[in-house]
Symmetry: C2
Subunit: 103 residues, 2 copies
Amino acid sequence: MNKKELCPVEETIKLIGKKWYLMIINELMKNPRRFNELKNSIEGISSKVLSDCLTTLVQEELVHRRVFSEAPIKVEYSLTEKGRDLNKIFKDMDEWGTKWVIC
Amino acid sequence: MNKKELCPVEETIKLIGKKWYLMIINELMKNPRRFNELKNSIEGISSKVLSDCLTTLVQEELVHRRVFSEAPIKVEYSLTEKGRDLNKIFKDMDEWGTKWVIC
């Protein structure tokens, strides 16, 4: 299929339409985070699932993995420009959730 | 937990953060649809999964199920006000996907 024939909404859903991806991106919108910080802030996520999700999000260039050369090694995850550019979607979810769920 | 302590983004993700839900809502943003129309327009979805998703979306009051009393019985699915109010999120996904995926 030619790229021009793809539906941008469907392609976005295929990329980020997964509860854990959205939860991780939501956390990283607030601040860069270390693995354990992410694990502790996302209720119910296992280390294995978090690790797999982060690997995919890094591959998709939504998340940047930065390794600090100190002992013990420190690894920090943050959003790339592509990832940060999803902020409008999260702002809208905030508005929608405030109106329809937290009311 | 008090409702006021809930995070609106997380609650929204819990409600709609699933590929199939998002695909169905995206289709219904365009027009009301019958079951088979939805099935044919959403690539890869099985009848069982579509049926289960629609049941949940109706329970969550995002989708309205309308039965027309004609023979054979016609059932049409459309977005409720709560569902239609997600349109900004889908518009943002359209913009993001156009910029970062279809380029």
